[in-house]
């Protein structure tokens, strides 16, 4: 039995210590926003925050977490950087299939929390662990810059759904 601090609350889960956090979230708790992509920390789809740091939950045994605070995609919008990133993701309309985007947003939110004005190199370093097979990278870069500066970085202006 492990007591976990997740998304501002606490709950107990009865799972083996070696079970990766990813499957505790998805199968034991029912938070399915965090995704399974590779199982070996190669693709970043499973990225969550542990005390604000972006980590790959598919290789993190639940028994090693202790009392560190877990934040998932379902709650990252309550953090200042997560809120900015999610808004920029919408404004730039980053998503395609969307499957990797939970992980992309978690990595980007952690970047912005620690580096409010990231350079291209900062973005490369923070985001190169997240694969997107749809190839949304150009807009991911634009959205991170837009979230940081508030200035429109888009290649074309995208209107919200109710605009017309």
């Amino acid at each position: 039995m492990f007591r976990l601090r997740i998304n501002g609350g606490e709950l107990s889960v009865d799972v083996p210590a070696g079970m990766p956090l990813l499957w505790v979230l998805r199968d034991a708790i029912g938070l399915t926003g965090t995704k399974f992509g590779c199982g070996i920390a190669q693709c970043g789809a499973c990225t969550v925050h542990l005390d604000g740091q972006a980590i790959r939950s598919c290789v993190l045994p639940v028994g090693s977490i202790g009392d560190r605070a877990i934040t998932t995609i379902e709650a990252v919008g309550k953090t200042p950087s997560g809120q900015k990133i999610q808004k920029a993701w919408l404004d730039v309309d980053v998503v395609q299939c969307g499957y990797c985007q939970s992980g992309q947003i978690m990595s980007a939110a952690a970047l912005l929390a620690h580096t409010p004005n990231p350079t291209d190199d900062d973005i490369d370093a923070a985001m190169s662990g997240n694969i997107c097979r749809c190839g949304t990278y150009v807009r991911i870069r634009a959205a991170i810059k837009q979230a940081a500066t508030g200035d429109a970085e888009v290649l074309q202006a995208i209107a919200p759904a109710g605009a017309a």
């Binding site: 799972v15 998805r26 379902e74 919408l90 998503v95 299939c97 997240n130």
Partner: protein, 747 residues
């Protein structure tokens, strides 16, 4: 895949005989085939609705549902049912824009629903079944969805005009409200829906003049973005049911191999493992959760019969293809004129590898089989095919198979297959509870139905001025269509997809011969659709070779192409636009930096891409810039178009730089993203997309960027290094600065 165009529409009256009109207009119907329901040439229709009361009840009995796409509920809320599936390509947004434009609602006023499996209501006009693929969705739906919206609008206006005793043509609709500007009166959809639902279908409806479009042509935010950024979208893998267990599976890694025996004591001893299920060629372990199932799978001792492919290797597959290229009998796709005697003869052999799809969401299916029902939750590009296969496996009639389609975490052609669904039904059939079967990434790659490999001999004869007076392409490879839809094979057994973009190029050639030598893979090694299919393969060969011809003629690759495009103004304009945007004739580039052009006309669109790349002394390729010039006809959503071209290019560049499936001992050697690499954000430059305005009908877009990527890269590498790459993926050993010395020792 399908070179077809719907006729242009300018406030065109459309009648119910539209399909005949389309045929007369020359729409390609080569792909119309007998759907899985057994009904020939099913196709969606702006006026057809299910007549089944149970279906209507399940749908909430909306008072106004004039066709299979539009439901207006008593409270006036608008639900739009999507005929295609959403796998990232943005078709939900595009389809909503086409429907909403004519219906008269904003995208923020609608709710989007997945369609149930039904060929009669949702079959693609191009593909004859409820299939999302071949970059056909927008092309196939452009007329019918606008017409469907116009049918609904016409009926709603009729009711309002009758109530007001005014001429319907004096009424208009916007944002869910019908108004009569002359008198200032308005009525909401809620007030009109019930009466509109009682009216007979209108015979003719008027489509909007494109100049009056308020949605189409605008870069609107996707309808699925808001949930996707919150992790709230349900993909197939996210399905959770009461009492559901989770399974993971291992099939025989050798193509066509079988299960002999399995010792499962170790697996059953693991906490959380519930069952071990044996199939003909696989074993599944069922657990309380995925982790338990995976631990159990790894604890199995499995004995396989590796079968006839146990010693198959990539080298053997290549040798067989090369032999067939030399000695096989071909099917002629096109032959115009003869190869002239004399002139400068140039010939090259190009090779393309097997490729895996690796969508970010590994394949998965949730199934619950009971005595009289089989319920399936899956994200599939072919929902009706899934139903048909499940019926065969369970022995239940098709109406007892209930399939709930889901958002797809990438498709790329992999989810045009039903193998993983069939497997899940076979597993669930042995269990008394619902089970979600999730493939590991390793299983997803090793059990992929891979893109075919090809060996092509391409040739040309140049006249004294360096112009090609002969173009010959001898394509050798296996057919996807021949397995997937054999009834759609063309004349003399030709696979039209396999020769697309070789059989017809943008250029003028006086004499042409394009032929295909069919070479089937060994039994058990299945080949499948992969983003861009025929054009992705042929454009690499043809556009790389065009560069070879320019080089042989001593001409600039841009000027060389220009000279051959004098009768093709649409493609010439794109070539010039891309060259202008990248500054083709600007200052000299640094050493070992080069630019490569590729031009093509795939999927009813036209695109020119110029890639600028640097090759390091160690042979690493660094992308510096890419510029695309695009003519895709009328643009539905310019934002989606830009995203599809950028993403498609990245998908194609990933494959060209890194991807190749190789075979050893009859099995795929690659297993996960560490050895099946993809481009990451640090390797991707800015990709500019410049679109020319056009009034032509929409072209396809989902695969266009992918199809044009590899030749632009290969030509850039040649410009940077002088090394012509005639096989993919890029072999860095050939690109190190002292490549000649290395070639003697390594290759």
């Amino acid at each position: 895949m399908i070179p077809g165009h719907a006729p242009a529409a300018r406030s065109t009256p459309v009648d119910s005989d539209r399909r005949n009109a389309l045929k007369l207009a020359g729409l390609s119907i080569a792909f119309l085939w007998t759907g899985t329901s057994g009904t020939a040439s099913a196709a969606m229709n702006a006026r057809r609705q299910s007549s089944d009361p149970a279906t209507a009840a399940a749908d909430g009995n909306p008072p106004f549902a004039p066709n299979a796409f539009i439901r207006i509920d008593t409270d006036g809320s608008v639900r739009l049912v999507m005929p295609s599936v959403e796998m990232g390509q943005g078709i939900y947004t595009g389809a909503c824009m086409m429907l909403a434009e004519e219906l008269g609602v904003g995208l923020d006023q609608i709710k989007v629903e997945h369609s149930p499996p039904n060929d009669q209501l949702y079959a693609s006009p191009f593909l004859g079944g409820q299939i999302t693929g071949g970059s056909t969705s927008t092309r196939g739906q452009w007329q019918v969805l606008r017409e469907a919206g116009a049918v609904a609008r016409t009926l709603l206006i009729s009711v309002a005009a009758q109530r007001w005793h005014v001429d319907p043509s004096a009424c208009s609709v916007a944002r869910g409200v019908v108004s009569h500007p002359g008198s200032g009166r308005t009525l909401t959809f809620a007030a009109l829906a019930k009466s509109a639902g009682a009216l007979p279908m209108p015979g003719k409806v008027e489509l909007k003049d494109p100049k009056a479009f308020t949605l189409i042509g605008k870069p609107l935010q996707r309808v699925d973005s808001a949930d996707k950024i919150k992790g709230a979208t349900q993909f197939g893998i996210d399905v959770r049911l009461p009492g559901m267990k989770v399974a993971t599976v291992r099939a025989c890694p050798t193509f066509g191999g079988k299960l002999v025996a399995v010792a499962d004591e170790g697996a059953r001893a693991i906490a959380g493992v519930i069952d071990v299920v044996r199939l003909d060629n696989a074993v599944a372990v069922v657990g309380e959760n995925f982790w338990a199932a995976k631990q159990g799978l790894e604890a199995l001792e499995i004995h396989w019969d590796h079968g006839n492919n146990a010693d198959l290797t990539t080298a053997k597959l290549r040798a067989a293809l090369a032999e067939k290229l030399s000695n096989g009998t071909s099917i002629i796709a096109r032959e115009d004129g003869k190869r002239p005697a004399g002139g400068k003869s140039i010939e090259a052999v190009y090779q393309l590898p097997l490729l895996a799809h690796a969508p970010m969401e590994p394949l998965n299916t949730t199934v619950w089989v009971t005595a009289d029902k089989c319920e399936i939750w899956v994200g599939s590009q072919v929902p009706t095919r899934c139903v048909a296969e499940a019926a065969k496996i369970t022995g239940l009639p098709q109406e007892k198979i209930v399939l709930h389609n889901q958002y797809l975490g990438g498709g790329f052609g992999r989810r045009l297959e039903t193998d993983s669904v069939e497997q899940a039904v076979n597993i669930a059939k042995q269990l008394k509870y619902p089970v979600k079967v999730i493939w590991t990434r390793e299983e997803d790659i090793r059990q992929d139905i891979v893109r075919p490999m090809y060996h092509d001999r391409i040739s040309a004869v140049l006249d004294a001025a360096g112009r090609p007076v002969w173009f010959g392409d001898r394509i050798t490879g296996g057919t996807v269509l021949g397995r997937w839809a054999p009834m759609a094979m063309g004349k003399n057994g030709l696979d039209d997809d396999l020769v697309e973009c070789a059989e017809k190029t943008p250029y003028e050639f006086a004499n042409v011969k394009v032929e295909w030598i069919r070479h089937d893979m060994p039994d058990g090694l299945l080949i499948g659709w992969w983003r861009g299919v025929g054009p992705t393969h042929n454009l690499f060969v043809v556009e790389s070779f065009m560069d070879e011809l320019a080089h042989a003629a001593g001409k600039d690759p841009l000027e060389y192409r220009r000279a051959l495009l004098q009768q093709n103004s649409r493609s010439l304009a794109l070539l010039n636009l891309a060259a202008d945007k990248i500054g083709w004739n600007s200052a000299a580039l640094p050493p070992r930096v080069g630019r490569g052009i590729a031009l093509g006309e795939p999927f009813g669109s036209r695109i020119c891409v110029i890639v600028e790349a640097e090759v390091t002394a160690q042979g690493e390729v660094r992308l510096r810039r890419a510029v695309a010039a695009l003519d895709c006809g009328i643009a539905i959503n310019p934002s989606s178009i830009e995203a599809q071209v950028q993403g498609g290019l990245i998908f194609g560049l990933s494959a060209a730089l890194y991807s190749g499936i190789t075979i050893k001992e009859g099995a795929i050697e690659q297993s996960n993203f560490h050895n099946y690499r993809n481009l990451r954000i640090n390797e991707v430059p800015l990709i500019e997309v410049h679109r020319v305005e056009s009034a032509q009908p929409p072209g396809g877009l989902g695969e266009v960027g992918t199809a044009i990527a590899a030749p632009a890269l290969g030509n850039a590498i040649f410009a940077a290094t002088g090394v012509r790459l005639r096989s993919l993926p890029v072999d860095r050993r050939l690109l190190v600065q002292n490549a000649e010395a290395l070639r003697r020792t390594v290759i």
